[in-house]
């Protein structure tokens, strides 16, 4: 009987072992394929290590948090999370898949996501305001700031006020008034510009009304309102009335004014912003990228 050479026999044995290993299932419970995780926590094939249900608090810094039932697999190396409540928290629409691993979530959101197992917390950091919920919060803050921009006295502070100023020319300015917190009345007398008085009223948290009269100047009044993602102002300066407002429609922010001024701001993925604006007889288109987003209330233009 003819005997095979030793090298050929070893090669045959090697190939047989490779085929045998390749045809069988791996003996270890490695990371489960992403497509399988995407189906369901229950439908996914169990790993060799027992999976554990975890109550995880998902926090978006500065926005809020949500408690979800997650699953820890493969001795804590794989974390599977329900996508819908997390997407809702960050302001995104329905997720494409029901469950995501931590890595998939990081890729999908495009921001820093930190898993703290000792705290059972998943923290989403969005310093560049990429996520819709972060942008919405910024809009609310901006609207609130605009409403209170004319308010000289913070709400909650009350009492009389007095001020006297004299310069080296001998000119004087006397300021008197009283604030109730939600309303302020003040009168002033200047040796240069004459007498004036103003009243500020904040009947509701997001509504402010002011009125002022002064010698040698037209009467002035304004009403500013902020409701959610919408801000509006009516300014009367004798004899003109100007209306302006801004609102957020998903990724689009619209600002318009009766003085033939408007701006459309589209907030794209990552930190891309595109603005189309018009003021007077001039129109402009601006494309911006970076962490410093342009104000949606400023008309783009070449200065």
């Amino acid at each position: 009987m003819r005997t095979l050479p030793r090298a050929r026999a070893l090669a045959l044995v090697w190939c047989a072992m490779v085929c045998w290993i390749a045809s069988g299932r791996p003996a270890y419970g490695g990371t489960i394929a992403a497509s399988r995780l995407a189906q369901s926590l229950r439908s996914a094939e169990p790993a060799t290590a027992a999976a554990e249900t975890l109550l995880v608090e998902v926090r978006l810094e500065g926005i809020g948090s949500v408690l979800v039932l997650a699953e820890s697999r493969d001795e804590g190396t794989v974390l599977v999370l329900p996508a819908a409540p997390i997407f809702k928290l960050v302001g995104l629409r329905e997720p494409p898949i029901a469950y995501m691993t931590l890595e998939q979530l990081r890729e999908r959101l495009g921001v820093e996501v930190v898993w703290q197992p000792r705290q059972l917390a998943l923290i989403v950091f969005d310093p560049n305001q990429i996520l819709p919920a972060s942008r919405a919060r910024l809009d609310r803050l901006r609207a609130a700031a605009l409403v209170q921009s004319g308010l000289l006295f913070p709400q909650g502070l009350s009492g009389p006020l007095f001020g006297l100023t004299r310069d080296d020319r001998g000119a004087t300015f006397l300021d008197l008034g009283y604030s109730l917190g939600w309303a302020t009345l003040r009168a002033s007398r200047s040796s240069l510009s004459g007498r004036a008085w103003q009243a500020y009223v904040t009947p509701l948290d997001h509504v402010q009304i002011s009125y002022s009269e002064a010698e040698h100047r037209p009467r002035y009044a304004d009403v500013r309102v902020a409701l959610g993602h919408t801000w509006a102002a009516m300014i009367y300066q004798q004899p003109n009335v100007q209306l302006s407002g801004a609102t957020v429609l998903g990724p689009l922010v619209v600002f318009a004014s009766t003085e033939n001024r408007y701006v459309f701001t589209w907030r794209g993925p990552q930190t891309l912003n595109v603005q189309l604006g018009h003021a007077g007889e001039r129109s402009a288109l601006g494309v911006y990228f970076g962490p410093l987003a342009p104000s949606p209330l400023m008309i783009p233009g070449v200065r």
Binding site: E52, V56, R118, L120, A121
Partner: protein, 155 residues
Amino acid sequence: MRNGGLGLGARRWLGSALAPAGIALAMLTVPAGVCRAQVQPVVELKDGYATTTLWNRSTERMRVSVELRHGEVVDGKVQLGSPVDAVVSPRVFQFGPEETQILRILVRERVEPGAVFRLVTLFEPVVPEKPAEQPTGVVTRLDFATRYITKVVAP
């Protein structure tokens, strides 16, 4: 020859009597020094949900297992009952010296106002696979598991 001291027999007798007493004393005192895990004595449920913190104040890595059970006090002793239908997260984990772990509890069954559950927390030191080398080649080790039974109350 008597020199006024203890004889050899008396010394042996004294040694044989003191050695077990010393071991017993060490067994009584050592657990307090070894297992210094901390749990909150009372945890309050709000809408079936509660969080608490566990501390490992010992110098060893600890394996912890947690379960929530029904229980009652009979003759001044706590008798544990059936497990509560709840998510206890995490149920089993390990943590090192000076580490803390947040524990979240979500009770799925109906909770009556004033209900008291028992949180059973078992702390066991993680035994290293290879003990420290000794010149004699003989190593003796006493491992103490500590179980705390604390209250989870629904106001």
